[in-house]
C-alpha cells in the first residue's frame, strides 16, 4: 500500500479514508503502544483456547488477519505473519496425521473413512496402537483440537507482527531492566551466528573441506564460537563504556529487601495458582494468596526500580486508542470465559452425533468486538524510504558476497 493508498481504486480509497484506515487519513500515523497489542492478542488467545467450535475459531482467525493486514507496519518483524499462518497449518496437519497413524479406539457408531494396516507393537509398548481403522470423528476432533492450537499460535504471531517485540521489552519495570537487556542481546545474537556460520562454511571450502563429518563440524563450530565469544566481549565492553549498569545509590539493605519481596510475591502467586487449579483448596486461600503475592511483587518491583535512574527516549504514549484496543481484546476474552446468556456447550460442540455446529450469537459478537481494533488503532507510520543517496549495496549482502547458492 502506498502512503495515500493511491494504487487503489478511488472508491476503495475514500472508503479507507472514511474509516481512517489509510495512512493519509485525518489521524496522525503512529505506533500503537506494544503492550496494548500484546494484551489484545493474548486476550484473543484466551478466547480461542476456550472453544473448539470451528466457526468461532474461523472468526477469530479472520479478525486476526484483518487487523494484521490493516495495522502492521513495514518493519522486518512485521513481515512474518505468513510464516505464522504456515506454522499454524503445519500444526493442524501434524495433529491429524498423528491421530490417523496412532489409532485411538473406535466407538460402534463411528463413520469409518478408511483402514490402515495394523503394525504389531512390542508388549512393553502396549497401549499405543499403530494403524487400524480411521474414523471421521477422530479426524475431526484432531483437526479441531489442532485448529485451536493454531489459532493460539496466530494470536502470538499477530502480537509479534503488530508490535516490535524489543520495544515491548522496554516497558518492563526498572527492576527487570537487566532481564530485558539480556533478552534483547540474545535476540540479536541469533542472526549474527547464522551470518558467521555461513561465512565460515564458505571459507571452509577454500581449504578443500574435510569430508569426515565430525571434523567438518569442528572446523565450522570452533571459528563460529570464537567469533561469537569475541563479539560478546566487545559488546560487553561497549555497554560498560556507555554507562550500562550505573547502579546509582542502592544500598545493600534495599537490594536485599527487594529480593525478599520478589521471592515472597512469587511464592504467594504460586499458592494462588495452585488454589485455582486444585478444587480442594478453599477459594479464599487462593484469592488471598494471589492478592498478597501481587502486592509483594509490585512492592518489590517498585523498590527495585527506585534505585534505577534511567530514562526512555521517545516513550510510547498510552492514550485512548490504547485503552480501546485493550478493552476490545478483553471483551472477547470475557465473552467466551463468562458463559452467561448462552449454552456453554456450543463452545465445544460434541461430535456425537455428527452435526453442523451452530454459531452462538454472544461469543460471535464478543469476537467481532476485537476487530474494532483495526479501526481504533492509529494507522502505522509510512514505510521508511529507502536511502537513495547511497547506491552502495547493504553490508549484509556484501558479507554474503560469493556465498554458494
Amino acid at each position: 500500500m502506498t502512503a495515500d493508498g493511491s494504487s487503489r481504486s478511488p472508491t476503495a480509497r475514500t472508503r479507507y479514508r472514511r474509516f481512517g484506515l489509510a495512512a493519509g487519513g485525518r489521524r496522525l500515523p503512529r505506533v500503537l503502544h506494544p503492550v496494548a497489542w500484546w494484551i489484545w492478542a493474548l486476550a484473543l488467545g484466551v478466547a480461542a483456547s476456550r472453544t473448539t467450535n470451528p466457526l468461532l475459531l474461523l472468526l477469530i482467525l479472520a479478525v486476526l488477519c484483518l487487523v494484521v493486514a490493516v495495522r502492521r507496519g513495514d518493519a522486518p518483524w512485521a513481515r512474518g505473519y505468513r510464516f505464522y499462518l504456515v506454522m499454524a497449518l503445519t500444526v493442524i496437519v501434524i495433529r491429524v496425521v498423528f491421530r490417523i497413524v496412532f489409532e485411538s479406539g473406535v466407538t460402534p457408531g463411528d463413520h469409518i473413512l478408511f483402514s490402515l494396516p495394523r503394525i504389531p507393537t512390542p508388549s512393553w509398548y502396549a497401549g499405543i496402537q499403530i494403524g487400524g481403522p480411521v474414523s471421521l470423528e477422530a479426524v475431526l476432533s484432531a483437526a479441531l483440537d489442532g485448529a485451536r492450537l493454531a489459532c493460539l499460535l496466530c494470536c502470538i504471531g499477530a502480537a509479534n507482527t503488530l508490535a516490535n517485540p524489543k520495544r515491548a521489552l522496554r516497558v518492563l519495570p526498572g527492576a527487570l531492566y537487566e532481564l530485558g537487556v539480556a533478552v534483547t542481546v540474545a535476540l540479536s545474537v541469533a542472526p549474527q551466528l547464522v551470518e558467521s556460520t555461513q561465512r565460515v562454511r564458505r571459507a571452509r571450502r577454500l581449504r578443500g573441506g574435510d569430508r569426515r563429518r565430525l571434523h567438518a563440524l569442528r572446523a565450522v563450530a570452533i571459528p563460529v564460537l570464537h567469533d561469537a565469544l569475541e563479539r560478546s566481549l566487545l559488546l560487553a565492553a561497549a555497554m560498560d563504556s556507555r554507562g550500562y549498569g550505573r547502579t546509582g545509590t542502592a544500598t545493600r539493605a534495599s537490594r536485599r529487601l527487594t529480593a525478599v519481596l520478589l521471592l515472597a510475591g512469587m511464592a504467594g502467586l504460586c499458592v494462588g495458582a495452585y488454589g485455582l487449579l486444585d478444587a480442594g483448596m478453599p477459594g479464599a486461600l487462593s484469592a488471598s494468596g494471589f492478592a498478597a503475592g501481587s502486592a509483594a511483587c509490585v512492592a518489590g518491583l517498585a523498590l527495585g526500580g527506585r534505585r534505577v535512574s534511567r530514562t526512555h527516549y521517545r516513550p510510547d504514549p498510552w492514550r485512548w486508542p490504547e485503552w480501546v484496543v485493550t478493552a476490545c481484546g478483553l471483551v472477547s476474552a470475557v465473552g467466551l470465559c463468562v458463559t452467561v446468556g448462552y449454552n456453554p456447550a456450543v463452545l465445544n460442540p460434541s461430535l456425537y452425533p455428527l452435526h453442523w455446529p451452530s454459531l452462538p450469537l454472544i461469543p460471535a459478537v464478543a469476537i467481532l468486538a476485537a476487530a474494532l481494533a483495526a479501526l481504533v488503532a492509529p494507522p502505522p507510520p509510512a514505510p521508511v524510504p529507502a536511502d537513495r543517496s547511497v547506491p552502495e549495496p547493504q553490508p549484509v549482502l556484501r558479507d554474503l558476497a560469493g556465498a554458494p547458492r
Partner: protein, 545 residues
C-alpha cells in the same frame, strides 16, 4: 583533561608490563594520535583512558590515570560514561540496539537524561555527523562508514568531553574513511572535544593531530608535537619520509605543506624517474595463468559483478581496487570457483580447467583464496597442528613443499606452539597463506589482506607477494591501500558498480587519478614519482652528474 601519572599496566599472567611509567598530560580540545606497531599497547592505552583497563580486562594498574579530575582506579567505565565516549574498531560489534535513533539514545538513557533534552541532543547529533537521513534505518543495513559515524554519534550524544577512538577507519575504503575523519576533526574544531585516536594509516590523520604519543613496543613511550615524534619514530607516513629525504625543515605533515616546500625539489629532479616504482617483472610477457571472461555475479536484484573479463599472468601482482561494495570480493570468490557465478567462463592453466567445475579440494590446487577474515580458516589449537592438517589436506599426495617450510620461508619466526588466534594479524595472514600455498595453486587471490596491518606487517607482506610472483604465481590483492599498492603491485584494476573501470600498470593508473594517487605522487605531480626510493635515486643522479 587526561593525566597519566607514572602509569603502568601489567596484564594477569604476564611478567612484563605492556606499558610502563607513562607520564603525560593531554590538554582539553586536543587531537592526540597514538601510534605504534601492532602489539605495542595502543589499545591498552586507549582502554586505560576510560577505565576499561583494568576494570574490564583485568590486570594491574600502577600509578594514576586521572580523567577530568576522576581517578580511573576509583571510577568504573560506566561511571565515566558521561566524560569519555568510546568508539571501537568494529562498530557493529558495539551496537546494543537495532536502529540508528535508538542507538544514539542508548547512552543518554543510561545517564538518565530528561526525555526533552534527549530529543534535542539527538537531533543535533544527527545533523553534526550528517546522518539525519539514516535515522530510521536498521544498523545492520548501513555501510561501514555510516556505521562508524553512527557509533561516533552514539558516543557523542552523552556530551562527553573526551572521545576515544580505536582505529576507527581500519575497515573503511578511502572515501568513507575521509568522511569519518572529517567528522572527527569537526568535533575537535567546533565543539572542542578532546580526541584520543589510534590509527595505523598515519598519512590520513597526521595533518590533523596536535600531539602524538608513540609507543615504541617495549613499554616506553615518547610524546610531543607530531613533527618531533615522527622524525624519531619507526612508523612514518610517506610524506614524512620524503621530507626527511629532502631535508625539509620544519617537517611537513600534510600533502599541502609538502607541496609548498617541494617546488625546488620538483625542479631539481629529472623529468622521468631513473627507477620504476617496482622492479620490472621477471618475464613481462608471462603466459596467462588464468583467463576469465564475461563473469556475472548477482544476488537477487543486486548485480555484484557485471560481465567482467580479466587475464592474469604468472609472476604478476595485480591490485584490485574500488570502494566497498564495488564487487571486488564477489569477483575474487567467483574466480576461485567457490563463489556463485551466473555466467561467464574461467579457465586456469594450460589445460584450461574451470575451477568451479571441480571439487573444492581440486579447485584449490588451481586457485587459492585468502578470505577477508583469515581466522575463519583456522580451527586447531596450535600453529603446528594447523600446518600438519594443511599437509594432510592436499589430496593429491604429499605436498610439494610442507606447510611448515612455506611458513618459515614467507614469515620466519611464527612459534609452532602458539594458538593461531593469539597471533598478530600479520602472522595470522601468513599462516593462512601458507596453508593455502601448500596446495601449490597457480593463482593466489587475497581479499583485503592489508586490513589492520601496521607498516612493518605491510612491508613483510610486500616481501611475501614478491616471492610468490617470483615463483611464477599470479597474485591478486583486493585492497584500499594506495601506498601499499604502489610498492606491492605491478598492475592495478579499479572496479566500480561491478564493472572494471581502469586496468593498467600501477604507475600509469595511480598517477592518472588524484584520489587514487599515493602521497608522493600528489606532492611531486606532474612528475611521475611514486615512491621515496625513486626520489632518492633521482637525487643521486642529480648529485653524480
Amino acid at each position: 583533561m587526561i593525566h597519566f601519572d607514572r602509569a603502568g599496566i601489567t596484564y594477569d599472567g604476564s611478567d612484563s608490563p605492556v606499558l610502563r611509567n607513562l607520564s603525560f598530560l593531554i590538554e582539553e580540545g586536543e587531537l592526540c594520535l597514538v601510534i605504534g606497531h601492532t602489539g605495542s599497547g595502543k589499545s591498552t592505552l586507549l582502554g586505560a583512558v576510560n577505565g576499561l583497563v583494568p576494570h574490564f580486562t583485568g590486570g594491574t594498574l600502577t600509578g594514576r590515570v586521572v580523567v577530568d579530575g576522576r581517578d580511573t582506579a576509583q571510577y568504573k567505565p560506566r561511571e565515566l560514561a558521561d566524560v569519555v565516549g568510546v568508539v571501537g574498531q568494529d562498530p557493529l560489534a558495539g551496537f546494543v540496539t537495532d536502529t540508528v535513533e535508538e542507538e544514539l539514545a542508548y547512552t543518554m538513557e543510561q545517564l538518565a537524561i530528561a526525555p526533552a533534552a534527549m530529543r534535542a541532543r539527538l537531533e543535533e547529533t544527527l545533523d553534526l555527523l550528517g546522518i539525519a537521513d539514516l535515522r530510521n534505518r536498521a544498523l545492520r543495513t548501513l555501510s561501514g562508514g555510516q556505521q562508524q559515524r553512527v557509533a561516533i554519534g552514539a558516543a557523542l550524544t552523552a556530551h562527553p568531553r573526551i572521545l576515544v577512538l580505536d582505529e576507527p577507519t581500519s575497515a573503511l575504503d578511502p572515501t568513507s574513511a575521509e568522511d569519518v575523519l572529517a567528522a572527527i576533526t569537526r568535533l575537535v574544531h567546533d565543539l572542542g572535544v578532546t580526541v584520543v585516536l589510534a590509527e595505523h594509516r598515519l598519512e590520513r590523520v597526521i595533518p590533523y593531530a596536535d600531539r602524538v604519543i608513540y609507543l615504541a613496543g617495549d613499554g616506553t613511550v615518547a610524546e610531543g608535537a607530531p613533527a618531533d615524534i615522527l622524525v624519531r619514530a619507526e612508523v612514518r607516513p610517506p610524506v614524512v619520509e620524503l621530507g626527511k629525504l629532502a631535508g625539509w625543515e620544519p617537517l611537513p605533515l600534510s600533502v599541502r605543506d609538502a607541496r609548498r616546500a617541494a617546488s625546488a625539489l620538483r625542479e631539481q629532479l629529472p623529468g622521468a624517474p631513473p627507477l620504476p616504482c617496482r622492479p620490472a617483472l621477471t618475464d613481462p610477457a608471462g603466459a596467462p595463468v588464468m583467463t576469465a571472461s564475461g563473469i556475472v555475479v548477482r544476488y537477487g536484484p543486486l548485480v555484484a559483478v557485471r560481465a567482467v573479463s580479466l587475464t592474469l599472468r604468472g609472476g604478476e601482482c595485480t591490485a584490485l581496487m574500488g570502494r566497498n561494495g564495488s564487487g571486488k570480493s564477489s569477483l575474487l570468490w567467483a574466480l576461485q570457483g567457490t563463489g556463485s557465478r551466473v555466467s561467464g567462463t574461467v579457465s586456469v592453466g594450460t589445460a584450461a580447467t574451470d575451477p568451479a567445475r571441480l571439487s573444492p579440494a581440486r579447485a584449490r590446487r588451481l586457485v587459492g583464496l585468502v578470505p577477508q577474515t583469515p581466522a575463519d580458516l583456522v580451527y586447531l589449537d596450535t600453529v603446528e597442528a594447523e600446518l600438519a592438517q594443511a599437509d594432510r589436506e592436499v589430496s593429491s599426495g604429499p605436498p610439494a613443499e610442507p606447510a611448515r617450510d612455506i611458513l618459515d620461508r614467507i614469515a620466519p619466526g611464527v612459534p609452532a606452539d602458539a594458538h593461531p588466534r593469539d597471533l598478530s594479524a600479520g602472522q595470522q595472514l601468513a599462516l593462512v597463506l601458507a596453508i593455502q600455498l601448500t596446495a601449490a595453486p597457480a593463482a593466489i587471490l587475497l581479499d583485503e589482506p592489508t586490513r589492520g596491518l601496521d607498516y612493518q606487517a605491510k612491508a613483510s607482506l610486500i616481501r611475501i607477494l614478491d616471492q610468490l610472483a617470483a615463483r611464477g604465481h599470479a597474485v591478486v590483492v583486493a585492497t584500499h591501500d594506495v601506498e601499499f599498492v604502489t610498492r606491492a603491485c605491478d598492475r592495478v584494476v579499479v572496479m566500480a558498480e561491478g564493472e572494471i573501470v581502469t586496468d593498467g600498470p600501477t604507475a600509469t593508473v595511480l598517477t592518472a587519478s588524484p584520489t587514487f594517487a599515493p602521497q608522493i605522487a600528489k606532492i611531486l605531480a606532474p612528475l611521475p614519482y611514486l615512491t621515496e626510493s625513486q626520489v632518492a635515486a633521482g637525487l643521486d643522479r642529480v648529485v653524480t652528474s
